[in-house]
């Protein structure tokens, strides 16, 4: 099936009126909104991430170049490889290099939270909502299988996928835990078990994944956004309890909804001793917005990063990074 045919097929889904209205508020220029509307009906590009625990990017690149048209679009991140051609169904998943765990198929915008976290060898890191493990395996690779990485998720079926991802990637520095995120943070905080860095890639309404999951067009509803926003605020409050003073937390979602993004960072800035940090990522980022509907946010939310599909030919994402300035006492309630 050609790219054009795939585009046409995806057009059977359209934006719900309220979703369209919200996106038009976020993208007030008609040209910008039109670009967004057009691109969300096309399939995303084929990106993979070299698994540096098993193979080096130049060697993998050389191997893949014999089969596909490949590019390394970001010189500072040679592990990010673009397969710049149409592929048949299952072609990426059935390649020998994938079977061997030499690469992981991952959309480029989803690689940004781990890059923002900037994991280093020998650090103590928590990935709070880890399944399916794409970011966990990316973090473990940057840690060179040293330090300690705790990968938590809640549901057993998601844990199985997470475990399979880490197995294939040759990750050996990880403890997989199955708890709800709030329980795990509460219990660890009671024993003063704290982390240098935390990734909170929160469950979200998925507005950024329209290209790969067009069913999100149908599933989206405003109630879901509000409910998720409340849960995300609770998650970040509890996550901060297990972060060391001076430690870094990256909060990310794959949605554009401000309630789930700047709204959550604003909540953290207003209630906890944290500082929002500027980000330098290899994709085009727009600054976080400082007001939405009737809400005015802390001006520092401008330091967060909105990744729109039309800016990068990617999926949509939101990435933010904060530093904890003072230890948080265990008894603080969300």
């Amino acid at each position: 099936m050609s790219q054009q045919e795939r585009v046409r097929k995806e057009y059977k889904y359209s934006m719900k009126p309220l979703f369209e209205q919200r996106m038009r508020s976020l993208l007030p220029e008609e040209k910008d909104f039109a670009a967004f509307e057009k691109i969300v009906h096309t399939q995303p590009k084929n990106f993979i991430r070299c698994n540096t625990l098993k193979i080096s990017p130049p060697i993998l690149f050389e191997r893949l170049a014999k089969r596909w048209k490949v590019k390394q679009p970001f010189p500072d991140y040679p592990e990010i490889i673009l397969i710049d051609q149409d592929l048949g169904p299952g072609e990426l998943g059935n390649a020998l290099e994938h079977i061997l765990g030499y690469y992981y198929v991952q959309e480029v915008s989803s690689m940004m939270p781990s890059l923002a976290l900037n994991p280093r060898p020998n650090e103590k890191i928590l990935d709070l909502c880890a399944a399916p493990g794409s970011k966990t395996s990316q973090i473990a690779a940057k840690m060179e299988n040293t330090g300690i990485l705790i990968a938590n998720d809640f549901k057993m079926n998601r844990i199985r996928i997470l475990a399979a991802t880490l197995e294939r990637s040759g990750v050996s520095n990880t403890v997989i835990t199955r708890n709800d995120a709030i329980t795990v943070c509460s219990r660890l905080a009671k024993r003063n078990f704290k982390f240098d860095k935390i990734l909170l890639d929160a469950p979200c309404s998925g507005e950024g994944t329209l290209r790969s999951s067009p069913k999100t067009f149908l599933m989206w509803n405003p109630k879901m956004v509000d409910n998720l926003s409340r849960m995300q605020k609770k998650l970040i409050a509890f996550a901060l309890k297990v972060l060391k003073k001076g430690g870094t937390i990256v909060y990310s979602t794959c949605t554009h909804a401000p309630e789930e993004n700047e709204g959550v960072i604003d909540f953290a800035l207003k209630n906890f001793p944290v500082r929002a940090e500027s980000l330098s990522l290899p994709l085009n980022c727009r600054s976080g917005i400082t007001s939405w509907q009737s809400e005015e946010y802390n001006p520092d939310v401008k330091r967060t990063c909105r990744i729109y599909p039309q800016d990068n030919d990617s999926e949509g994402f939101f990435v933010s990074k904060m530093t904890l300035l003072e230890d948080i006492k265990e008894d603080i309630k969300a």
Binding site: G90, L100, G101, I148, G170, S172, R178, R187
Partner: protein, 149 residues
């Protein structure tokens, strides 16, 4: 957490066997045995005591990476053959492109080789272990790591 941390004696026995079969001398990780005689390697910076302490706080499902299965002899996991490839010296069977195409789809190989568990290599890539009868190698590639066509 249902895991048993290998004692010094158990580790010594394991490494004697790993050395005899494949030439492996060391795995710089904490080793623990979980269900079905599977041994996992944990390279993280937590001691056995710290892991046990952690298990009191949270529900631990999995620690580290599955590397070895103990049967009457030792079988390395698919990923262990890649991660330990620099140490592998014995019982390696090199296969051709045609044999690889069969092996990675889950078929046994009709080929002569040393009896017992062997490691399958194609070029510089390692593709797990198989059980050799001397004339045939029985495929042990996990189903989820096979090509499905």
């Amino acid at each position: 957490m249902n895991a048993h941390f290998l004692s010094s004696k158990e580790k010594k026995e394991l490494f004697t066997q790993l050395n005899e079969q494949f030439g492996i001398n060391e795995i710089a990780s904490l080793l623990l045995e979980t269900g079905k005689e599977k041994i996992r390697a944990f390279s993280g910076a937590l001691s056995k005591e710290e892991l046990l302490d952690l298990a009191q706080l949270v529900n631990i499902e999995i620690i580290g990476l599955y590397i070895v299965r103990k049967e009457h002899d030792i079988r390395l996991s698919f990923d262990a053959t890649q991660l330990l490839n620099k140490q592998l010296k014995k019982n390696i069977v090199d296969i051709t492109d045609e044999q690889l195409a069969l092996w990675i789809r889950g078929h046994d190989l009709e080929t002569a080789g040393p009896r017992g568990t062997v490691i399958i290599r194609h070029g510089s890539d390692f593709f797990g272990c198989g059980k050799s009868t001397g004339e045939r190698i029985i495929n042990h590639v996990p189903k989820e790591r096979r090509i499905r066509k």
